[in-house]
């Protein structure tokens, strides 16, 4: 199979999965609830006229298949309904909150991937030695620690005890007032860097540290464990032995020969971890008052803002399948055998 054929096949699967995701959310929001109009209109009492209007807007009088068709059509057109709380279109709300979450997720994933892969590779190289055991215990502790609890502990230590780092929001209020950041990507750290707003950049970076650490611990631990295991497989393989027999230095065998082979399972796990980080922000953002998608989602859930909840669910699923597609394409590029199966 050529790379192009592989991409086409994967895209077809992606479309299918997205349709499936839509079907599931459709069932959860329209079929299971006894009175979908109540969900559509929000809390409180409604006049029969309001209900009738809602029934028509949702197309509830039509057969289920037609309803689903309308549901998908609206979704594709970008009409994800209006938030019951903000009364604005859900998609617009989500796009407004997404950048702050992305900033946090990307920085946490970057930290987790760099530390996880390097620690995992080193532990595998030093298998059975002190560095290996220490690394394994650290990694297993990282994946056992509830992120929201870690976030609280970090807040106490770095804010309350040491007074080193801020614990709420993306920017200090004074900095935001005196050095306003031009909105380009929506990610404060990136925008302040692009515009050369160094005061804001430094302040934003300091705000980013603790939530990043809280979110990255689990991801780093998991990446480290997977890297270690995949690297051990690679280092004990026949081709590694061949390389040893050819006098290839350890540095090259670990850093190039084995690492490139170990990348496939590690990347797969990183794709799954992206999902974890997406959801992890829901808790972290709440604790650090981070104005991202997670904050939006938790407020929507507590207010039973159903259109917003469905919108968040779909956007997260979309982001997740897209990331997994990208991961699989990278793997196919790295390991030419993947496309055979």
């Amino acid at each position: 199979m050529t790379f192009r054929a592989y991409i086409i096949r994967r895209l077809a699967l992606l479309v299918f999965v997205i349709l499936g995701v839509m079907a599931v959310t459709f069932v959860v929001s329209r079929v299971i609830p006894t009175d979908p109009t109540a969900l559509y209109l929000g809390g409180g009492r409604h006049t029969p006229e309001q209900k009738a209007a809602a029934r028509e807007a949702l197309g509830l009088d039509k057969p289920l298949v037609v309803q689903f068709g309308l549901y998908v059509k609206d979704f594709v057109r970008g009409d994800w309904g209006n938030s019951l709380r903000t009364h604005r279109p859900v998609l617009g709300d989500i796009m407004g909150f997404l950048p702050a979450s992305l900033e946090l997720i990307l920085s946490a994933m970057a930290l987790a991937v760099v530390t996880g892969i390097s620690m995992g590779a080193f532990a595998a190289y030093r298998k059975g030695r002190l560095a290996d055991h220490t690394g394994r215990v650290a990694a297993i502790a990282g994946v056992s620690l509830p992120s929201f609890f870690l976030a609280l502990v970090l807040q106490i230590v770095f804010f309350r005890v040491l007074g080193l780092l801020p614990v709420a929001g993306q920017l200090s209020i004074s900095v935001a007032r005196e050095y306003p950041v031009t909105d380009i990507t929506g990610m404060v750290v990136v925008d302040s860097l692009i515009t050369g707003n160094w005061v804001a950049f430094w302040d934003a970076l300091r705000h980013l540290i603790l939530p990043t650490l809280a979110l990255a611990a689990y991801c780093a631990g998991t990446t480290m464990r997977m890297t270690r295991s995949a690297m051990l497989d690679a280092l004990e393989s026949d081709y590694a032995r061949m390389a040893y027999a050819m006098g290839v230095p350890d540095r090259v065998i670990v850093g190039r020969y084995a690492l490139k082979n170990a990348m496939a399972p590690v990347l797969t796990v990183i794709g799954l971890l992206f999902a974890y980080a997406l959801v992890g922000t829901f808790f972290i953002e709440q604790i650090f008052a981070w104005p991202g998608l997670g904050t939006y989602a938790t407020i929507s859930i507590l207010n039973l803002d159903y259109p917003a909840i469905m919108g968040v669910t779909i956007i997260v699923a979309l982001a997740y399948v897209t990331v997994n597609l990208i991961v699989d394409l990278i793997i196919a590029k790295l390991d030419p055998r993947v496309m055979l199966s």
Binding site: A245, V248, P249, P336
Partner: protein, 359 residues
């Protein structure tokens, strides 16, 4: 040579004495589990540490003891002067690098060359193994090649830096019969055209007969017989060699194939005396408690067997305790850990060419 395992210490190699001269292919034959591969690995320092321990002995290469060499020096030798090919060529090649990438990597480890110059060396090596040195081959991945081509690629990698000694561990076992012949011919060509000495590890006496100048038969960690191929196969002396040759299919006869009764002993707790005595048809009392020492039965033909020694009527080499045994015409070999004994008359160090000595 010992392995530390969960069940106990495996005394994998005990008496291995092997000499490879220049432009010579020496076959190392025996059943699986008798230590052939371990011998090959120990030459290249490939045994897993810390489980594997060489408790005594030397491996001499052109007079230098490889076991005493620091790791860094050993690494410089591996691939450049001594190299190895393995049984499974697909697994031996890195699946995510192209043929050109992996061979040129080895070339550049040992020679300070630009990428282009290294690729030229790769092409030369490929050509020497009978592969077309085309860009298409350089850019292909191992899984895209046939089994025979893969093994040739492995060999090209092994000789790409001009190695003088090649350890080939069952290089034909994973291949089709038709391809096996081609690879064996390639081994001969490497010997004749490039002067590569080789240790060919095989369980197949037929393969060894076709390819090797000399044969060493291993049993349970010992070399029990060693000599020129024709001599060993036509006039085998050791009962184990005899049995091994009797197991070969003879011509077209439909009679049932012979087998050697019993199995290779457990090397955690090897039998006392001769390690073959439990399966030997000619077992003597002495075999049960005394390890036989090799002696020369014909020119350059050695064996370690009490029965042969007794039969040849030249007196029995008696060994007691840790004293080296002395055979009338044989050269004493000392198996006592830590003491190295070199005597004249036998295949010994100091001769011209590559010399590997292992005890």
């Amino acid at each position: 040579m010992e392995f530390r395992s969960l069940r106990g210490v495996v005394k994998a190699l005990n008496g291995v004495y092997l000499t490879v001269h220049e432009r010579e292919i020496v076959g190392l034959v025996g059943e699986s589990g008798c230590g052939k591969t371990v011998t090959g690995y120990s030459v290249l320092g490939l045994l897993p540490k810390p489980q594997a321990q060489v408790t005594s002995g030397r491996i001499l290469f052109k007079g230098d003891d490889l076991l005493a060499k620091p790791q860094q020096e050993m690494r410089a030798l591996k691939g450049k002067v001594i190299s190895m090919v393995f049984q499974d060529p697909l697994a031996s090649l890195n699946p995510v690098f192209t043929v050109g990438e992996q061979i040129s990597r080895v070339v550049r480890v040992h020679h300070d060359l630009e990428k282009k110059a290294a690729l030229e060396a790769v092409r030369t090596a490929l050509q020497a193994t009978g592969l077309p040195p085309t860009d298409a081959l350089l850019k292909s991945y191992p899984h895209q090649l046939s089994g025979g081509m893969r093994q040739r690629v492995c060999m090209a990698m092994a000789i790409s830096c001009g190695a003088g000694l090649l350890v080939a561990d069952e290089p034909t076992t994973a291949l089709d019969v038709t391809i096996q012949m081609q690879i064996l011919k390639l081994l001969l060509r490497l010997r004749d055209e490039l002067g590569v000495s080789q240790i060919l590890i095989t369980h197949n006496v037929g393969v060894a007969a076709q390819t090797c100048d000399r044969i060493a038969v291993m049993y349970a960690g010992n070399v029990v017989e060693e000599g020129p191929t024709a001599d060993v196969l036509k006039r085998p002396r050791h009962p184990y060699t005899l049995a091994l040759i009797e197991c070969l299919p003879q011509g077209k006869s439909a009679e049932q194939l012979k087998t050697i009764p019993g199995a290779v002993p457990d090397l955690i707790d090897p039998p006392a005396g001769c390690r073959f005595h439990e399966r030997c048809a000619h077992v003597r009392d002495i075999c049960r408690d005394t390890m036989p020492t090799p002696f020369e039965v014909a020119r350059d033909h050695w064996t370690a067997c009490h029965w042969v020694q007794e039969k040849s009527g030249r007196g029995v080499g008696v060994t007691t305790g840790h004293e080296p045994g002395v055979g009338a015409a044989g050269v004493p070999f000392n198996r006592d850990p830590g003491i190295e004994h070199t005597a004249g008359g036998g295949p010994a160090t100091g001769e011209s060419g590559d010399d590997i000595r292992r005890e």
